[in-house]
Amino acid sequence: MASAVSSWAADLVSGDCPDVVWITCGEQSRRTDGSITQHYWLRSNSENRLQCFPDLQWEAYYRLTDGDGLEEGYSRAPLTCSGGVPHLEINCRTNARLELTLVGHCGGKHYTAQLQHALFGKASAGKHAPSERFGELPAGLRRWNLKPSRRNTYQQTGDTYHFIYHGNAGSVESVSVLEKGRRLPEDLSLARDGNLVYTPAHDPHLDRSSPYEVKETVLLAREAAEGREYLTTFTLLLHRSYSAHLKRLHGCLLFAGMAVLAAGFTVIFKRRPWYR
C-alpha cells in the first residue's frame, strides 16, 4: 500500500530533503490483556535517502479520544528506527480514536504528518498509559484539522470530509491528493479561510476486498512563507463505503415481490378454506 504511493512519489524528490512525508499504518498486535498495539511507519518519497532521517528532527504527538470524551492534551511517543525506517507504536486499551501528529524539519522544509483513525482495544479497565504527558501541539504548527464524522467510525470512500488548514492559507501553493493506484496527484482548491472539502471516489478494488481493507490516501499541502517551505500531510485510511452501494428501492421491491409470491403460493396450496 505504502510502496504504491512512494513509487510514484519518488519522482518528486528535490534536494537533500524529502518532498513528501506521511504516516502509514503497520500491523496491529493484541496483547493478552486485550489492549491493542498499533505500529506506524513514517514514509517518504525518497526512502533510500532518508534512512531514519539522519538530518531530520522528529517529534510525535498523539491523543486518544474514547467514550468519555476528548483526552486533555497530547502525549508524546518515542520514534524509533526499525529496519532503516522510522517507526512508532501506540498502545490503546479501549475503543478510541487516535490523533497522531509527527512534526519535523530538514533544511528549510518543515514537515507535519498526521493521521486519525479508530483503535479497538478490549482491555477491561484502566486509562491509556501515555509515555509522556504533553500540553498542546507546538504553536504555529501547520496542520490539517479534520472535522470528526459523527456518522461513521471508519473513514470511507464516497464520504465528504471537511478539513481546515491551520497555517497561512493564502500562501498555500498547492493541495494535492496522493492515492494508491493514481499516477498523478489530484489537485484540490483550498478556500481563503483554509477550508477544504474532499470526497474520495469509490474504488472497485476496495469494494471487492474485505470490509477491513484500507486504502491509504494522503492529502498534501505545500505552503511557502518567510523563505520556508511547509509540507503538511494527512493520511486518510479509507475503507470501502458501507452505505453508498445500498439500494433501498431494489430491496423494497424484492421484499414486496417475495411477499406477494409467498402469499400466492400459500393461497394456491391451501389445505382448507381461509375464512371461518
Binding site: S124, P211, M258, R271
Partner: protein, 322 residues
C-alpha cells in the same frame, strides 16, 4: 390469567429490547432470543451474533484462546448458558421480541377472520432438520473464513443472509437500511438478496402460520440442548390425562408430543416455547404443570379452563369463547 400476564411480559420486553439501549438499558450480548443487534439502540443482543463473531475471531488466531478474546468468548458462552438454564424456553414464548412480532401478525390474521394455514405432519417433519442445518451453517462458515480463505464478506452468515429479524426489526427503530440490496460486491449482493427475499417470505409465513419462523429457529436447538439441566420443567401426569386433545389443538406450534406422551413425565419438546397455552386449555387438574425446581409455577385445572374459556353470557345461558 397466564395469557394476559404473558402478553404484558412480551410487550414489556419488546420495548426494553428494541429501545432500551437509548435509555442506557442493555442486557448484554448473549441473550437466548432474537433481540436483533442491528436495531440501533437495542437493549440486548442475540447470542447467535456473538457465537458467529467470537467463533470466527477465535479461529482466526488460535493463540487468542488464552487471551482476553478467549475469555470474552467464554464469558458470552457462560452467560448464554446461565440465562438459558434460568428461563429455558420462556425466552421464546415470553421474551423474544421477534416472537412477539410474529404474535402480532397472528393477532391481525385472527382479527381479519382468516384461518391459520396448516402444514401437513410430513411437511413439518421435513422442516425439522432445517434449524440444525442453519446452526451448522453459522459454525462452519466462520471456520472456512478462518482456515480455507473464504472471503470475509461471508462473516456473520446467518445474520446477514438468513435471519428475517435483521431486515424487519430495525424498521421499529425507523431504519430501512437492512431492507436494501448491497451492491458492493457479489457476496454482499447475494447475501442481501437472500436476506430480503427470506424476510418477505417469512413475513407472509408469519401471517398465515402462527410462529412460522420458530419452525426454523436455530436458537431453539441451542436452548433445547440445555433442557435436561435446566430447573424449568414442563411435566405431564400421564396417568391422569383425559386424552381430550385440547393441548394439541391449541398449541401454536402444533406440537403433538404432549398429547401423545403416555410414559415419560417430561414433555418439553424441541419446538415448545412454554407459552403454556396447552396447560391453560387442559381441563384435568394438575395433569400439565410448569415447574421451576420443585416449585409449581402453573398447572392445569378444571376451574381455570371454566373461567378462561366459558364465560357467563346471560342469565340462564353460557357463551363458549373458543
Amino acid at each position: 390469567m397466564v395469557f394476559k400476564l404473558r402478553l404484558i411480559v412480551q410487550h414489556l420486553f419488546f420495548v426494553l429490547l428494541t429501545y432500551g439501549g437509548r435509555f442506557g438499558f442493555h442486557m448484554g450480548f448473549a441473550l437466548p432470543c432474537f433481540s436483533c443487534p442491528f436495531v440501533m439502540g437495542c437493549g440486548g443482543s442475540c447470542y447467535l451474533l456473538s457465537l458467529q463473531g467470537n467463533w470466527w475471531g477465535l479461529q482466526m488466531a488460535l493463540a487468542n484462546w488464552g487471551t482476553v478474546m478467549g475469555l470474552q468468548a467464554l464469558y458470552y458462552l457462560g452467560l448464554f448458558v446461565l440465562l438459558t438454564l434460568a428461563l429455558n424456553k420462556f425466552w421464546c414464548g415470553w421474551i423474544c421480541p421477534f416472537g412477539t412480532l410474529q404474535d402480532w401478525f397472528t393477532y391481525l390474521r385472527r382479527r381479519l377472520g382468516i384461518r391459520e394455514a396448516q402444514l401437513s405432519w410430513s411437511a413439518r417433519d421435513r422442516l425439522k432438520p432445517v434449524k440444525y442445518i442453519l446452526l451448522a451453517y453459522m459454525i462452519v462458515v466462520p471456520l472456512l473464513i478462518a482456515h480455507a480463505g473464504l472471503h470475509y464478506d461471508f462473516h456473520l452468515p446467518f445474520c446477514r443472509s438468513i435471519c428475517p429479524a435483521k431486515p424487519l426489526m430495525p424498521l421499529f427503530a425507523g431504519s430501512t437500511r437492512h431492507l436494501a440490496l448491497d451492491f458492493t460486491n457479489t457476496v454482499t449482493l447475494v447475501f442481501s438478496i437472500l436476506s430480503v427475499a427470506i424476510a418477505g417470505g417469512m413475513l407472509v409465513g408469519m401471517f398465515f402460520k402462527e410462529r412460522f419462523f420458530c419452525l426454523f429457529c436455530p436458537m431453539l436447538v441451542l436452548i433445547h440442548l440445555l433442557r435436561k439441566i435446566s430447573p424449568v420443567r414442563f411435566e405431564k401426569e400421564v396417568g391422569a390425562c383425559l386424552g381430550c386433545g385440547n393441548c394439541r389443538r391449541n398449541c401454536p406450534m402444533d406440537i403433538r408430543d404432549v398429547h401423545e406422551q403416555k410414559t415419560d413425565k417430561a414433555v418439553l419438546s424441541e419446538d415448545c416455547m412454554l407459552c403454556m397455552t396447552c396447560t391453560e386449555s387442559c381441563p384435568a387438574d394438575g395433569v400439565l404443570s410448569v415447574r421451576f425446581f420443585k416449585w409449581r409455577l402453573f398447572s392445569s385445572s378444571r376451574d381455570y379452563v371454566a373461567r378462561r374459556f366459558i364465560k357467563p353470557h346471560k342469565a340462564g345461558s353460557v357463551k363458549v369463547k373458543v
